[in-house]
Symmetry: C2
Subunit: 219 residues, 2 copies
């Protein structure tokens, strides 16, 4: 935040940069989506930010630290989007879930490299600090909230909320990975992505919906 001009990075006037921390994160995000994760180098980020190759180490504990910050920002945005979907459709858990799912798939497919960073495990999980876990948990908590309310309202069924959340989270995340995974499922335009996301959401809703209220219980 606190930085509007997002295209001219090298803004530099005095010896001290002023806000290197955020500038580095932005530069990393920029290069990440442009060149891919494997081609991202610390030195290039520094160069794009207009500082020497060693300056970033005053702000992040190594490359992992910088990538971690990028991932964290991503999880934060994710959590915001999910909560936004919740607030946009009060008292309509199905619409909330659909909106959250579509938003997630759309955002992730628009930012493929960042999504890979967030879930790709390029950082061994033992090294991932607590703060990142907390951010990912925030996003998870958003979906948990939606489904928990939905279950209390009798819209969703299932034995316990967590297992329902896992299923819902998993389809959406899985579809994303399939789209990103280049192999199968390769939609051309964003509209098609939305279509796919909606269909998957409807399928999982069919599996999640409470069956005690509508009178149908397959043997």
């Amino acid at each position: 935040m606190t930085r509007s001009k997002s295209k001219s990075f090298p803004a530099r006037d005095s010896y001290h940069h002023g806000d290197l921390h955020s500038t580095l994160v932005e530069a990393a995000e920029h290069l990440l989506e442009k060149q891919g994760l494997s081609a991202l180098s610390m030195r290039e980020v520094a160069k794009l930010a207009g500082v020497s190759h060693s300056a970033p180490y005053r702000h992040f504990r190594g490359k992992a630290g910088l990538l971690e910050a990028v991932a964290q920002a991503g999880f934060n945005r994710l959590a915001v989007m999910i909560n936004g979907a919740h607030d946009a459709y009060p008292d309509d858990p199905e619409a909330q879930l659909r909106a959250a799912g579509v938003a997630y798939v759309e955002w992730a497919t628009e930012n493929p490299e960042r999504t890979h960073l967030m879930y790709g495990g390029m950082m061994k999980s033992e090294d991932v600090p607590e703060t990142l876990h907390a951010c990912a948990e925030d996003a998870y908590a958003g979906i948990f909230h939606i489904i928990d309310e939905g279950r209390q309202a009798g819209v969703f069924g299932g034995d316990d909320t967590d297992s329902v959340v896992i299923s819902a989270w998993a389809v959406v995340h899985g579809l994303t990975m399939l789209i990103l995974g280049s192999g199968k499922v390769n939609p051309a335009n964003p509209g098609e992505v939305r279509q796919l996301a909606l269909r998957v959401c409807d399928t999982i809703l069919d599996g999640i919906r409470s069956r005690t209220g509508t009178g149908d219980q397959p043997s």
Copy 2:
């Protein structure tokens, strides 16, 4: 294949190695699961295989080529497992899907780094060659086969087979990613993984099952 002793790598007698190609792949798989993807270096693989740091380039077009071979082997195993699940439960599409799903989740969580390699996108998708796509497609085709048969038998519903396959594939893959993603969903023992996989499969089966036969068609 054609190589049983999997622990003593440096087996070397003459100037020429004899079967460097497979040995390198095995060495890479070994180091991959041991040290993680980001810490995997070409030179270390070569050293473990007992050859000079430059020898691998006679067999693979760079690091990407080697990793690509590892990923390809993974997809092949995946396809075999899926087809095995199909053959193990003839005329029972639900059991086939469950078995395939559980097998996939179990294998993937037992080989987390390889799974990340396969789907993590450490290789920009433009660079992924056709052969890899073909292998991934084989695995996809296995699930397609199961669901297509199931739909023809009236067990599964849905508008078209592909969208059903995507949903099924997505839950299973998504659950895997959640388990690997370290954040939420962190089961201790393999039995718990199986449990989770089964539950997710049942949920998606509830969403996939044909509704025209049992008399329920939500408006």
